[in-house]
């Protein structure tokens, strides 16, 4: 039994911050915001909503993709990837199980990772399911950064958006998951940090330098590990940190721009949700057979994997 990706549901918070209206406040031109960060709007959840509510929204969208609700019955486990869960205790996955009224014969755990989280979580949950003989699981991503951002901080206020996704993992998948490659650069853990009772602080230059130096090498080595070359990959789905970072990684990797899409312009950098949001439209495009996913950020950490259409 091999577990892979069957479907992806999503929920992008319906309210939004119009970044072009805010550019002047931060001494930036609208052109800079449009062309460099690339985010013209940032999705914002209702203040009362929690990470679990974004998960529930994503599950609701997943329900619209199945024939009957019974297709999503008998869920063996739930995982939520978040660093901004509903509570410090308990884990958000337990709250999600409650809200979705999923049977108690269901494992549930959270994974605490940021922008590399989806790739990590795919591998962790795949192994967990395969080792326990599970056939159906839900991997959620939901990290509402609006709760931890200082709206007056130029470094972060115009970047992050709120969204949740749910990936249905099953033994009858669309995509098989290849071998992953993971790195941690803990020496720079304070480049993106939220200390107790403070807001998120980001060292933009530190993150940029890390990404530009570590990501291309990580991607190359992941391809080697999977016995693939760049030309075998139909699309490279990189964490949607900003348009500038995606575009410049594309250049450093010497890839044609069409193979490295930037898709987050209307909702922002949604942390661990950014890759599944970018991946979702490709599930039904049959000519996309081999894809690479690369997440990087908090830690600082980086994770790359490949997907192959079954």
């Amino acid at each position: 039994m091999t577990i892979g990706i069957a479907k992806i549901g999503y929920h992008i918070a319906p309210e939004s911050v119009k970044t072009l209206d805010k550019a002047e406040q931060f001494g930036l031109s609208q052109d800079f915001v449009r062309k460099k960060t690339g985010f013209v709007a940032l999705a914002r959840k209702d203040r009362a909503q929690k990470a679990s509510d974004l998960c529930v929204g994503a599950f609701g969208q997943l329900l619209t993709q199945v024939q009957t609700e019974s297709d999503l019955a008998d869920i063996d486990f739930i995982c939520v990837c978040t660093q901004n869960g509903d509570y410090q205790i308990p884990h958000t996955s337990a709250v999600v199980q409650d809200k979705l009224v999923i049977d108690h014969a269901c494992a549930a755990f959270d994974i605490s990772l940021g922008c590399s989280g989806y790739v990590y979580a795919l591998h962790i949950t795949k192994s967990f399911m395969e080792s326990n003989g599970f056939s159906k699981g839900l991997l959620f991503t939901s990290d509402p950064y609006s709760e931890i951002i200082d709206p007056a901080d130029k470094n972060t206020a115009l970047l992050f958006g709120d969204a949740g996704t749910v990936t249905l993992l099953s033994d009858n998948p669309v995509f098989d998951i290849g071998k992953g490659l993971f790195e941690t650069h803990g020496k720079h853990h304070d480049h993106l940090i939220k200390r107790d009772r403070q807001k998120l602080v980001m060292n933009g230059r530190g993150i940029f330098n890390f990404t530009m130096s570590a990501a291309p090498d990580n991607i190359d080595r992941c391809l080697q590990k999977n016995h693939l070359s760049k030309s075998d990959i139909d699309v490279f789905l990189l964490h949607q940190a900003s348009k500038y970072i995606v575009d410049h990684l594309c250049r450093r990797l010497a890839l044609p721009p069409g193979k490295v899409p930037f898709t987050a312009g209307n909702h922002g950098n949604t942390v661990s949700s950014s890759i599944p949001l970018a991946l979702r439209p490709f599930l039904d495009q049959l000519d996309y057979r081999c894809m690479l996913l690369c997440g990087f950020g908090v830690g600082l950490s980086i994770a790359t994997t490949v997907l192959r259409r079954r």
Partner: protein
Amino acid sequence: MEKVIPEDLVKIIKSVVTDVDLSNLDIQAALSDQEVDSLDLMNIIFSFQEKYSVEISDESISRGEWRSVEIMVDTLNSILSSTEAT
């Protein structure tokens, strides 16, 4: 190591900054006055670090030691010569 000359850095800058016409780049003027924005400047400095295997501190940037090509050349040569000396 040979001394860095302005042409070396102009070549790197032009390879990084692709959305601004730098055909008449003034090496004495601040890059920020020639439509090079903060993200591109960060990328230029990253490229220097890679090319010349040097560490460039945030403080050095704050002090304005990377604001024009001419100053960049002086700063880089100073770093390289002090690295060689050690």
